[in-house]
Symmetry: C2
Subunit: 220 residues, 2 copies
């Protein structure tokens, strides 16, 4: 019982900080999305395509979460209006971003000059679903080589998603991925979430995603 109590205290404290992050973002009319996926699903490539299609009209800051390295931040730094890298390796939670880390990152970003924050979470389909960050929308990316059974095995992250990206759609001819089966499994968990079938590599399907994302932005 001791450990469960500690975990509950951590989650309560996290929710309070997430709410405070939300207030900070709202006060700057800045939206935020939390992009979550398994390692190698293509989060960074998807964010790069998104930045290319939003900017310069929409000003975007990126928070990069990784256990270690600055590989992703280096890829994104010239494509975003501002960027902060978070490495979680030596933090009490290493398997996901938590609201405290985002609070620290927001302090380093010029929020008054930004319209949107894209948070790239740590590559993981489990832990990130436990920690609200203060984001407006939770985005989950599933990639076709992972297989169509992921919603059955990692239900929490799919249940809470506000949009689901099916990435690497260009690989469908070479892998076993039944799109209808995948969507049906998600529907059992989440009745209304929209799907966007994209290839970050070729750009296929990105226009529909960008149209949806623009509708979520409050505008300054």
């Amino acid at each position: 019982m001791r450990k469960i109590e500690v975990v509950q205290n951590i989650l309560d404290a996290n929710n309070a900080t997430a709410e405070s992050n939300r207030v900070t973002l709202d006060s700057h009319k800045c939206a935020a999305i939390n992009v979550m996926a398994a390692p190698g699903a293509g989060k960074t490539s998807f964010i790069l395509r998104t930045l290319d299609l939003l900017r310069p009209g929409i000003r975007v800051g990126v928070i990069e979460g990784d256990v270690a390295s600055t590989v992703d931040a280096e890829k994104v730094q010239n494509a975003a209006d501002a960027i902060v890298q978070i490495n979680t390796r030596y933090m009490p939670e290493s398997c996901a971003l938590v609201a405290d880390m985002v609070d620290e990152a927001l302090k380093k970003l010029p929020l008054a000059e930004l319209d949107l924050i894209i948070i790239e979470n740590v590559g993981n389909l489990i832990c990130p679903s436990e920690f609200n960050l203060g984001e407006d929308r939770k985005i989950v990316i599933a990639s076709t080589p992972e297989g169509d059974d992921k919603p059955l095995k990692y239900p929490m992250i799919f249940s809470d998603a506000d949009a689901i990206i099916i990435n690497k759609i260009d690989l469908v001819p070479y892998v076993d991925f039944d799109i209808a089966k995948f969507k049906s499994s998600v529907r059992d968990l989440n009745a209304t979430v929209p799907f966007f079938e994209v290839s970050s590599k070729t750009g296929t399907g990105m226009a529909e995603w960008i149209q949806w994302l623009r509708q979520q932005l409050p505008g300054k």
Copy 2:
């Protein structure tokens, strides 16, 4: 500090149970491997190929770890000599198997009649590296569509690996995966670990892996 103390207590307790699991396995001359990978890297398909090549000469029990569902256990049940499914969703640790869960599973397996236990860990490149289970060897599977930068971003799991499987080698023509770069990044973390380039789909490269695995088995 409170939280870090609790985490240390949990890891110490886990190591004690892992040691006890090891004694149990040794007393039955039963080896165990812990198979770790990101979601969708192909752990289950790789285990199915392995079972097909080892049995009936080697008798194998499988412990399937998943957050939710019995999808993998259903795929494996007719291919193994015995199987136990563990669902971690409502456990204090949901993002990895821990030694206690394996202890429970070992009690359900006919160890005297088995030569090898294959533990399929929860799909995750972070949490499983923190918990010893009492296994003889740690096996990490990386799949080519995930990209070659995973050792930089998830160094702990690659540092501790006793063998690294590069799976979905058949997809190399369609994805950006530089095998030499991947191996070089691993070498910076782990000077001696052997690599096996395989396709669980086509069977390519499985013979070398099986030869290595057989050399790790004590025999009854």
